[in-house]
Symmetry: D2
């Protein structure tokens, strides 16, 4: 119906889509290769693997942002293993993830539920959970008694050593938390390993938690501060993260979920000369809300948070599905 | 803070969340096992694999709904292979998927693009594509000349044999399309295989396309009908699909995307005594819009489209990521 | 931190964001004006009002696409009134909307439910609805006995007059449906008015329904076709809609929801010389899935469905909220 | 097709859906009434108005959570007016909203852009913005020189008075920010009013900002802390908010967007005997991700953040559209 001179087409690559083929015996790396032939989100997964593998291979300083209910939903080991293998140079996460990480470090368990098709249940259902003392996180369930054990752990092993130091940085707090988690996990031979804070402590990786007060961990810290000299400095950590960014030869950001961790990882580049050379984000938040959680990484270019030449990709799909896939895929290329 | 008698807790299973661990050498089936330990979408992927494997193993009649840009985005081979291996007993898809399936069958290619972070581009970008004669489907690009070749193929090999039959069913039309695709793909030794319609034709699997007129394939059919006796009967196919449902010992629905294919697959159960015993849906459409595309499979229970005892799960994530994963995972259990 | 010569900034308009102010006495048109000062979705609402008002004012041929559960959710009167006031020249909708439109025309009612926070309920809840004979559409409930009355109406007033005509177009079918709805609504003095199909019939507005077989209306038509000469031609309607597009001085598309109606409205421009001069879409479907439902209107430019110079906007929010707002706002400017 | 004894139907209300009708002269309160007849999101808007009006009428302590790019997108005046009219007893917001609130208080402006259909642009586009010194927030643009003026304002009027106080609470910081904004806005007769922080200061409403360090405001505070005794205590504010919650006769939460503000508003109920009696959330974040941002308010019941008897509703749509609508609607009922 149209008659074009096609020789001057600029706006698409002459790179044909292939059709993914799968079988029951394939490896994850073979699956990733198949995604690479395809389009839409599949190609983004493949690109994410490729970029993340490059981030983990070379002389790249890697900052990892972890938001969302990632620990309750079982992503704890993957992050702890990345830390232990030297693949995370600085971690930015939420108080909730550190709370649930600690609950598991001391032997607590989250549980699967008896779900319907989607686990958004009736009011009556949540009222019964309330009566039974079970907290719900979408399709993950936590018996409330674990919060009492969590409190005991903090009051015995975490707050007292810090009290003498007065107002400490949040990173100092997560470091002591990691130390306590590591020791008790070891001494009590807990089934699950020490987890994220413990791995960060053991490997001298700073764990930042800018909104720590927005969590049960923060509520506990506040309660303890009411009867002691202990408190947390909201600003002190920025020096550490900015130094990490400043000293990076090349810098990469792996961002799981949005929220405070995403922006905190990115904004550090506003006060140093450089910007991220690599960025991968795994999120369900769409750009259409205008919020930072779903904002494209190109938007971050306008702010100077990413280099104009940065390699970057966003994968818009459930991070509990994409994080294991991307990490396994990237590891297969190392 | 609360004091409960925990012995009577009913609302969650005492089934602890495990933490997924991944490495670079793992197989897809090992990855799926790791998802099964975890929560949120990861557990839904694992459940989807489990249900789909059961659907493919036993004496289950499987109806497959395929909506969305699945062929342009490289999911064609996966569906064709399922048909060839006897895993699809009836297919319901869109005119667009059959259009793009045919373009590849006769040697056409879709292309990757030179993307930014997300492939939602500026007005100017799409204006240039228009000038260059390239159609865009998110991050997949199709040079328009393939539609002319598609038209030639239909006018040479598909419409003429049907013309003598007068008003035919849509399934008869897709069958002839599949036959023509299969033959030309073979005789011209095209690189990609014959594809979905061809596989359906070769294996006597009915391919239904209720909204065929809503596609370039439909526009071509209409143009041909203007100068011939050829036309399509909108209702005739329902007999075939209802018979499939009626005769099923056990019935399963695999639903990729929403739209007409999803409802058409489900509604057949309104006119037969039974209902689906299994259902898996892979979609990004959320329930919150109230539309049928994102509706939970529980909602389908209220209508009698699913058995009250059906096994079912919805996975809310990009289907170009989840379809290869679920099919590979299910195949590993066969 | 940066030092720019700002005189050559090209990439943003020097048009300040104002801050919306609201009070309890304001009119909808004053509210729309406030949205116009603001950003993100608010500015898109304001732009949608402006474009739709221009579409309704001038010599524009308006094609209206109506997908999603818009009739069950109470959007029926708004669409019927637009038809009656000459603001819709051709309608493209779904079999489901016509089914529920007819149920209300003959005196049936949909119902509010006893909702929790979000109406995605447990499996048990939907099982009980099944036992009680109530069909659920998100938070809207329909007692099943209305489908029996719907069947009676069709078999008495709609199918018999068409039977003599043999295979008819789908538009001829919706026209007869509208006639029957109008007459019975009138003669039985039903509380709700005749509705969308009736208004289309009374005002000689063609109502197209490309996937009519994908609905209870379609199932009824199929059942009737089994024992009569009645059937529906899937292709015949395209002539009518293409003529509407061909003859339009200026053409505008108002698209509510995605699905078949969206594409069918747009694709008609592939076979006529022109393209849409205006387009507004109200949807919750995001572009990120790659599917046509959430595709940007810029993507439609690459295909030639919109003029390169077209005025267009997409509003990504619940259409049951935005449709009343945009229609009221546009009407205030007429 | 089924035969039920309908007298015992329990699972839906016998409350018919009405059909919204709109015209060009209607008031917002008439529009809200029309939404109330309808289903899906429309009924949720109506319910949100009803609950919020009850929250604002009675003896209810109202905590307001404000996340997302609400100030850049023009929602600043609505929030400031609610504070001035006594409708907010405590505010929880983000550092970004306070940053942009202050930029406008001192005479800066955000700008509309020259958008395509959706404002997710190409990499090249954002690279050009970078070169031109313009920061993008979806479809809102901010010339970077305003950050230099913002820095001057903080260094002149906000940090010095606090320096003598040493480590201060974040609320003390936002109070001084509000005082400075109010004074300069007044003395320099800025066009826009003093804004949110100023209104909070003027009306003795505490403004909490748990993740203040995650913003340009926080970066500035950190830089100042490097060369002075000034710093911020991360925990001190919790006493204030918990006291507000403890002393409330009845407590209500209006939550715009998710993120830290949402959880911080809700979690305060974990350490006091009561829980929220009312809650409204306006968000685009879906529950399906499992994150707290999109979590249903029923989930919050399981934690004891909402009373089992609380009135609550979630509206899943763009908050820049729904906030003006809900506030105007609620105000019309006062």
């Amino acid at each position: 119906m149209t008659d074009h001179d096609h020789s001057d087409r600029e706006e698409f690559a002459h790179d044909p889509i292939g059709h993914a083929a799968v079988d029951g015996d394939m490896s994850v790396s073979e699956l990733i290769e198949q995604y690479g032939h395809a389009g839409i989100g599949a190609t983004q997964i493949s690109e994410a693997v490729d970029i993340y593998a490059e981030m983990l291979s070379g002389d790249v300083t890697n900052v990892f942002g972890l938001a969302g209910a990632m620990v309750p939903s079982g992503m704890r080991q993957i992050v702890a293993d990345l830390i232990r293998d030297g693949h995370i140079d600085a971690l930015v996460t939420t108080g909730a993830n550190l709370t649930h990480d600690t609950i598991e470090a001391i032997g607590g368990k989250h549980h699967h539920g008896e779900l319907g098709d989607t686990p958004t249940e009736t009011t009556e259902y949540d009222e019964q959970l309330r009566d039974e003392g079970v907290d719900r996180i979408y399709n993950v369930y936590l018996p409330q008694e674990h919060f009492a054990l969590f409190e005991d752990h903090l009051r015995e092993h975490v707050f007292p050593p810090l009290e003498a130091e007065g107002v400490v940085s949040i990173q100092r707090f997560t470091e002591q938390l990691g130390k306590a988690n590591s020791q008790i996990n070891d001494s009590e031979a807990i089934d699950e390993d020490g987890g994220i804070a413990a791995a960060a402590y053991e490997n001298d990786v700073p764990a930042y938690c800018p909104a720590v007060q927005d969590s049960v961990l923060g509520l506990q810290a506040w309660m303890y501060s009411q009867t002691s000299d202990f408190s947390l400095d909201a600003l002190a950590d920025m020096t550490g993260l900015n130094d990490v960014a400043y000293e990076a030869e090349k810098a990469g950001a792996m961002i799981v979920g949005g929220g405070v961790p995403k922006n905190y990882v990115l904004q550090t580049m506003l006060v140093v000369p450089g910007a991220y050379d690599y960025a991968v984000q795994l999120t369900m938040d769409p750009p259409q809300t205008g919020g930072l959680s779903g904002a494209t990484l190109d938007e971050a270019r306008s702010w100077g948070k990413l280099e104009k030449s940065a390699r970057n990709v966003s994968v818009y799909a459930d991070a509990t599905i994409t994080l294991p896939l991307v990490v396994a895929g990237a590891r297969s290329q190392l």
